[in-house]
Symmetry: C2
Subunit: 249 residues, 2 copies
DNA sequence: GATAGCGGATAGTGTCACTATCCATCTGAA
DNA sequence: TTCAGATGGATAGTGACACTATCCGCTATC
């Protein structure tokens, strides 16, 4: 396959393919002459992986390079597959982590996962990112959302098991690395989309007469006592505007 | 409060504060002279909201401006609070949505939420983003992850109820808008961090000899087998309290 | 043997979120 | 009263990022 076909089948423009080759994201094709090279199906696949990670997952090019490097090296001893791939999924820090509030949140984050008994390294970047969010919520006085922490933990735990099972079912190490990354990133992308739609749905079902239904009131305390679902709410009005909340006074 | 104090208390550098003022993210202070203005606590809070949305949530400035505009306008008739705020949380499209594969994924995404009976607009950007992820997974042959869809749906549904309850408990409309955004964005940031730690934990518990331990298998098979959908599961089992998942060992 | 495609190299583009200066004016402590 | 330092307003510059555009000399192919 020559580059033109690669371009056509992948939908990635030629200058971009060249860019990926330059940046080492895409391995060079097999040289068949001074000016010609042949690409295989693996190049096409690699190109799709890159686009998925960049376009859907929002990863920076440098992170993609690191991840693909790891995936390419089948016997890179002494590293946890997941840790290696995962590390590169972290977003660069933009928050100020030197404040007392942040450190306090970080301590709480660690205590939280320790209480859950999770096997997580004390220095994990995810603990930092969890602390980022917790500190921000506290600074804004949104402890009410922190009160939902158990829900988030439960959901995260619920998803992780099956996901890891899928990854572990991969036949070889490169496939596992790719599976970790695509699974984590694209799985989360799906989750985020679903989550926001679920919110819109739950929002639209909220009783517009002014007060939340009794079962809703209890939600904050227990775990989501009950949100009536579409199946139970026949002919739910589509996208009802929350008239109740439009008028402030 | 003068700008110097605002800078000191918020930790945001002066040029950045000026930038936010220029961009209309931060309302001007009350003029007390030709060259002086006074800022209040609400400016400090606004600054914190901006930093949370930009730094932790990763939103572009333009989206923040739109959101804050909506939050500022207490009687903006005819708009769904959530829809309005939500819309601006969407990431700009980078994927090619003109392919047959994408359209097919988009159809499936719509069918999925329709089957759930969710009240979601047919044109929702979240359906598009869901289709992005689904199409990418399919193109990569990762149908195995799509097989976990029910888990993602269940988790999304589980979280949405309590979250909406928190939002609806806000006293006024601006607070609700802010709560929607910070709750969605920062809540998801927490979830992502927890999710990845949960994966590392589940990964570390995976029996290296090849098969998952018994309790892990239960998670992988039992839950994976079937996530009871909201519609078919009686209230009792739905939204099972997190207690179930806390004691792992 | 023309012409389209190829690889390799270099330079340019557009966006984004700041960041840096300059200037004239004003404040507040000495 | 004086004057260093802060302030508001305006304009321009920066650095990261992910491409995108050209140019060149060579080559495959019709």
């Amino acid at each position: 396959m020559k580059v033109g076909e690669l371009v056509e089948r992948s939908g990635v423009p030629l200058p971009t393919v060249k860019f990926y080759l330059r940046e080492g994201l895409l391995p060079a094709g097999e040289a068949t002459g001074r000016n010609q090279a042949a690409y295989g199906e693996e190049h096409l696949r690699r190109l799709r992986v890159i686009r998925a990670l960049v376009d859907v997952g929002g990863l920076p090019i440098t992170a993609v390079r690191e991840i693909l490097r790891a995936a390419d090296d089948p016997d890179q001893a002494g590293h946890d597959v997941r840790g290696l791939a995962h590390f590169n999924l972290a977003r660069p820090t933009r928050t100020d982590r030197s404040t007392a509030q942040w450190r306090s949140a970080r301590v709480d984050a660690l205590a939280l996962v320790r209480a859950k008994g999770w096997n997580v390294h004390e220095e994990s970047v995810w603990l930092d990112q969890l602390a980022d969010a917790m500190a921000a919520l506290r600074a804004l006085g949104h402890e009410d959302i922190l009160g939902l922490m158990d829900h988030y933990v439960a959901s995260a735990e619920q998803l992780a098991g099956p996901e890891v099972a899928v990854v572990m079912a991969q036949p070889d190490r490169p496939s596992m690395v790719e599976s970790v990354v695509t699974g984590t990133l694209l799985g989360e992308a799906m989750f985020v989309a679903l989550h926001r739609m679920a919110q819109e749905d739950a929002s639209s079902r909220f009783d517009p007469s002014g007060r939340p239904p009794a079962d809703q009131a209890g939600v904050g305390a227990g775990v989501a006592e009950r949100v009536p679902t579409a199946a139970e709410t026949p002919a739910a009005t589509k996208h009802r505007p929350p008239a109740t909340y439009q008028a402030r006074e």
